[in-house]
Amino acid sequence: MVLGLVHARFGLSAPARRRSAMARQARIACEELGPAFIKLGQLASVRPDLFSAEVVFELEKLQDSIPPVGAEHIRTCIRSEFGRDPEDLFDAFEDVPVASASIAQVHRARLKAEYRPVLGDTLAAGTLLAIKVVRPGVRASIDADVELARVWLRRMPRMGILARVDLEAFLGEFEATLRSETDLRNEARVAERFAFDVRDDELVMVPRVVWARTTRRVLTMEFVEGWRLTELTDAERDGVDARALAVHGADVFMRQVLVLGRYHADLHPANLFVTPDSRICYLDFGIVGTTLPAQRIAIAQVLAATVYGDADRAVKYSRELGLVIAHEQEAAVRDRVATLMKRTLRRPGQRADVRGFAIGFLSMLADFKIAVPVGYGLLIKALVTVEGVAQAIYPGIDITQTVRPFATRLIAQEMLRPARLYAKAPEMLRAAMRVLSE
């Protein structure tokens, strides 16, 4: 690590290479420092507005997976939350967890009596459940870990790293995120809202919540049989319509961002399942991004410009999304974007590389010292993740081909909206309309 820091400090490599070396060291440091720092790194990995592209894409490799705590601790927690033993609440509670992360671990059980969920049909008695339980002592360890992180991160500006980051604010956000994650009712509510948004989509499923068995520290949901995208093998891909699912997954994301205004901003191949009946199942709703109506059309324009390789349009509408580009920088920025598009998105005979484009784009903004608005950064990161997810389902997919018709259709709809036609009509026509309406 020291060698990496020295290398970075004294500028022995080009800026991007230096940033890459630093990013690798940051990832290794997070892994060595333990679960809280892994969470910290994961939070940083969705904030390209604060950290360099190299750091953001390196830290997304962090996996939040740690050894489980013993079943007796989990049983104590359930007893404390409900005043009853797991056997009184569930059938066939399994002591061996199926997943274990820094905040909580998941055990399986079966529903004791039928239950009417918020959405969809009644869950029958005997339905397989996933019981997510917050690990004991997590709140206390968060306090200690945040304090440690504060000491650790305060050293960073002195080394010339992260100069543009407000570390206190970032740590405050980190603390709030961790605290929110320890109240599992928050996740339950976000999951229900997500399920409501996609209620008409037969290819998407979200496990339903059993609220009567959910409290601050216990979340009970349907257990989904299937394969995590990280575990999907060729044989399993053959058994489902992988290409259609990959395209549909990208479509769902577009709909969330551009139509609904709420999107799963913590997508990761480990957070997604493919079910044997060819559906995509979403899990873990930790980070939710939002888009305002006024932003959506600008986002659609940026996406369309990106997939059609139109640098002028990309720069113009990025401004509408809050990117501040000085007049004297504009020509140079446009040239860099055009070159980048040619190199990553419009390669003859090759699939578009959205991830490569995003890294290059964010690096370019860093080089020009152009600040990245929070929502804009989150969106870029999410789009890259969607590409990764779609390719995990169907490796041959070109995400730009999916985005293209969706963005084009949305822009066309927006252009033909009566209110917009009115706004764009010549002043003389508007005057006539005002006279007529009086």
């Binding site: 409900f82 005043g83 918020v118 809202r193 919540v209 609220w211 068995r213 009566p418 006539a432 309309m433």
Partner: protein, 116 residues
């Protein structure tokens, strides 16, 4: 293009040209004064009647534009959307109440109280 679309198209056209076309205004006036069924009397009556119908559609278009909605407020789709949203919110609230009840029961058990 079905009849509704055609009428809407003509209404849009009328909206654009109305102020400059006194002849059009006169045709609308004559058409509005027409007794029901007179539209079929002859070509002139047909044009007057059609002008009046288009003028009515134009008024609806103005209301739609003024409300900044593609669809008039209170339409069936609008109500269905709100109903869906409200049903979901009530169901979600029921879920959260169940969760709170579970926590309350546990606390009451611990305190030795049976609650209400």
């Amino acid at each position: 293009m079905d009849n509704d679309d055609f009428m809407r198209f003509m209404a849009s056209w009328a909206l654009v040209h109305e102020t400059a076309d006194e002849g059009w205004k006169a045709a609308v006036e004559r058409g509005s004064a027409q007794p029901e069924g007179d539209m079929a009397v002859g070509p002139e009556a047909f044009v007057d009647g059609l002008s009046a119908l288009i003028a009515e559609e134009k008024e609806r278009l103005k209301v739609s534009l003024a409300s900044d909605q593609g669809e008039p407020a209170g339409s069936r789709a609008d109500v269905a959307g709100h109903l869906d949203e409200l049903t979901f919110e009530v169901s979600e609230l029921r879920g959260r109440l169940e969760s709170m009840q579970a926590s309350l029961d546990a606390l009451l058990d611990r305190s030795g109280d049976t609650g209400t």
